[in-house]
Amino acid sequence: MLNFTLKQLTTELAAKRVSSVEVAEFFLKRINTLGKTLNAFISVDAEKTLTAAQAADRLIAAGKAGPLTGVPVAHKDIFCAKGWLTTCGSKMLANFRAPYDAHVIEQFNAAGAVTVGKTNMDEFAMGSSNETSFFGPVRNPWNTQTVPGGSSGGSAAAVAARLAPVATGTDTGGSIRQPAALTGICGLKPTYGVVSRYGMIAFASSLDQAGPFAKTAEDLGIMLNAMAGFDPRDSTSLERAREDYTRDLEKPLAGLRVGLPREFFAEGMSPDVAKAIDEAIAQYRKLGCTMVEVSLPNMKLSVPVYYVLAPAEASSNLSRFDGVRYGYRAPEYGDLSDMYKKSRAQGFGAEVKRRILIGTYVLSHGYYDAYYIKAQKLRRLIAQDFVAAFKQCDVILGPTSPGTAFKIGEKSGDPVQMYLSDIYTIAVNLAGLPGMSLPCGFDRANLPVGMQLIGDYFGEAKMLNVAHQYQLATDWHMRMPQGI
């Protein structure tokens, strides 16, 4: 059961060779042992999980099982789940028990999936290493001295360490793809608007998008089928016909044009990552693909643009955490203004405060045009680069992250170095495009390397097809960390 894909697990459940309760117990046990070492989870609630598993078993017995019925899913602690603590990795919400379900949670519950816990994450999804969590850093199962990436580090570590077969995450600047790469699993960020943001605690509203983690591209497709869909409670949710994201998995790739952005390969990539990506390109050639050089001339601006826009939105989104109605309130304070100051000073961690300060600054009178408006203009240019590139190719390929998993503490003192670890992923969020990461090799320290695929708008099915065909020809995705 340990290394079962979602697809395999569902087959076993449907054939009643194993019950949902047995599966849940199996993973809960792992979460309570290895999960603790890795610090992958913030909340585990065996009773809730087993109750859901029993309900799933009844559905299976009644012949009413869907593709996710009885399957354990680990949810990033950014999704409100009724009755569960929903902390967003922050002291500010350490005591917040959500009174309602996020759309994503509703969808999984309706499909009969079983929540096995809420995973650790960078505080308010702000971080690339999972070190900013109030609940402590998550450890990478490939090497517990290294980070799993972030901000969805707990979900990525959980799937990589086989604490759950699949998990959910959110991606604002790479927070699904980068940890997927650093932990040797698959992760997908859909086109902006495909998954409802309702009930997902906002970091940067115009960039945030939820997506799945899994071992295989096929499993990502099954997960996305459950997560996607129009939700009238999110005005940015797109009203489109439902689609089956696994429909194109088996299509051969002969004739496919794979775009290689010149700027991705120019500099910054570590030699081991470059080697693995080159080998993946060679593999795609073998599969009949044509490589096309494309250019994203404005991509170099994506990190500065992102670090204007995302903090601007965050500074406003996080204003609701004021200690008045819920969440952390300083135990002692003078007047109202003092209550705000102390509650927020004590409730938020350093990285969150840094971004609130940056965001407040760029929106201030006299700076707004120079920063916010300018960044919005550049965002459009970055998006236009992709539109132009997709006239020449069907999918874009490159690295997910410039390097592999780094040591805990290695970059936490240098925010700019940390921000640069998202250099290949951020532009995709700014453009609103779908992107994914899948494992494509290891570095000399036996840490996984991820390759990134970027699809055109609503090109998830094609992207998954491209990834699946690669996974049929390789086995990187089925490798497990030693000693788990």
Partner: protein, 481 residues
């Protein structure tokens, strides 16, 4: 020293939607605290706003009513500040691109028409309420009002006196109710104004203004502006300088007090709300709203003036609200008279006279008046055909109000029939002239008042039943003879 007063008004009209502007909670007034505050209204983590189309539809109606441009695309922006009754830490409003741009409102200031230009009107959400009285050392927060839709209507600095400002505010108050976008309830805060007041010498650039906040009655508005003009005049004439600031009017002391100066003004860090898409309004939507709209008061006024020959004063009163004009038109149709002008004049007289006075006295709304338009029409017919004179009409109206039946029955019962037989009237006139030789002499000596005394004597002799027009004519003829 002559000073010119410059006033601009900002009005918050609460839109009459059943649910809030960005959530499904009820907007009903007076519910127990926080019973109408949903997850969205209290800004739980993860919730998102969804725009209420009913609020937009009302903004379109307003734009059409004031001849404004309705933006094909407008943007919701966040206005960021911290306050306990502002749950998200920002208010969703419109900043750079409002839904309604320009337009104007023409109002009567006394007998003079005055056109006030509008700058804009934008949609926004209201905040909740902080209650400081009931809690010792703490404040209570009621979020029932949080998220209530508002239309903020901003004028150009076009008003030159408290009187003009009040006339505009009253006309706007009537208009928003007429087009059914706001209930106009000022006690409940559904319609509240801020006034920007400054003074200058004629021909000079605008002076420094002060903003007087939250004027929730026309009376307070008038007094607050008058006070503020006095204060600024005295300040400048004493060699001082007006400081730009926000002031509050204290009705108990009839003065305005400084609330905060411009230096303390907050930086709201407006930026487009990424949770809401740009608001797009198609020409089809506007056309549909237009087709469903009532005729506007200005159009009705025009009809009353030129179509029925009513006075500007009557036309103004009859269009004070949709209910008044509806009463008038229903009564007019029920009269079924060929001479519409005569019937209209008679209805207008009764409505602006007896009906208005009685409604006022009994604190009744026109829609609740016991004398319905159809019944009034019965009375009007008896006036137009000469059965009743004005005095009798008043008596019949009072009896109708008291529930004594319709006009015909009351006239019958009380024997109220005007004497229009000229022979009969002439006889009485002769008697009166004979008996009042002194008055006749006075009149001939040029004392006009004596004529009225004679009319009074004739009416008295007929117990008020003589046709006053005939009495007048006869008396004039006889006295001239």
């Amino acid at each position: 020293m002559k000073w010119e007063v410059v006033i601009g008004l900002e009005t918050h009209a609460q839109l009459s939607t059943r649910s809030k502007i960005f959530s499904g909670s009820s907007t009903a007034f007076g519910a127990s605290p926080n019973s109408q505050a949903s997850a969205v209204d209290i800004a739980l983590p993860g919730v998102l706003p969804v725009l209420n189309r009913g609020a937009v539809e009302r903004a379109i109606r307003f734009g059409l009513a004031v001849g404004a441009t309705i933006s094909p695309r407008s943007i919701f922006a966040r206005k960021n500040y911290f306050y306990p009754d502002l749950p998200k830490g920002y208010q969703i409003s419109q900043y750079e691109l409002p839904v309604v741009q320009g337009g104007s409102l023409t109002v009567m200031v006394g007998d003079v028409e005055k056109t006030v230009r509008l700058t804009r009107a934008h949609l926004e959400e209201d905040a909740g309420k902080s209650l400081h009285e009931d809690f010792r050392g703490m404040s209570g927060i009621d979020l029932n009002r949080a998220g209530t839709p508002l239309l903020e209507i901003v004028t150009e600095p076009d008003m030159a006196s408290a009187e003009e400002a009040v006339a505009y505010a009253k006309a706007l108050h009537a208009l928003v109710q007429w087009i059914g976008i706001c209930d106009g309830n000022m006690q409940e805060g559904s319609f509240r104004c801020d006034a920007n007041v400054s003074i200058r010498r004629p021909g000079e650039p605008l002076g420094t203004r002060c903003e007087i906040k939250n004027l929730n009655s026309f009376n307070f508005m008038e007094k607050a502006i008058q006070y503020e003009v006095r204060r600024q005049t005295e300040l400048i004439e004493d060699g001082g300088r007006v400081v730009q600031e926000t002031r509050l009017y204290d009705p108990d002391r009839d003065e305005t007090r400084s609330m905060r100066s411009k230096e303390d003004a907050m930086d709201y860090r407006y930026f487009p709300d990424p949770d809401l898409l740009p608001l797009e309004i198609t020409p089809q939507w506007i056309a549909q709203v237009k087709a469903e709209m009532r005729e506007l008061p200005g159009t009705k006024r025009g009809l009353y003036l030129t179509g029925y020959g009513l006075s500007a004063y009557d036309a103004q009163l009859l269009t004070q609200s949709f209910e008044w004009s509806d009463y008038f038109e229903t009564a007019l149709a029920a009269c079924g008279l060929a001479d519409k002008a005569a019937a209209a004049k008679q209805i207008a007289n009764l409505m602006t006279g007896e009906l208005a006075a009685t409604l006022n006295r009994s604190e009744t709304e026109i829609t609740d008046a016991p004398v319905k338009p159809g019944a009034l029409a019965g009375l009007v017919r008896k006036c137009v055909d000469g059965t009743l004179n004005n005095k009798m009409a008043k008596e019949v109206f009072a009896a109708m109000w008291a529930g004594e039946g319709d006009a015909d029955a009351i006239i019958e019962q009380r024997g109220l029939k005007q004497i229009s037989d000229s022979g009969e009237i002439e006889k009485i006139v002769d008697q009166v002239l004979a008996a009042n030789a002194k008055s006749v002499e006075e009149f001939r000596a040029g004392k006009e008042k004596a004529f009225n005394a004679l009319v009074g004597q004739v009416m008295k002799a007929t117990k008020g039943k003589a046709n006053p027009t005939q009495v007048n004519d006869l008396l004039k003829k006889k006295l001239a003879g």
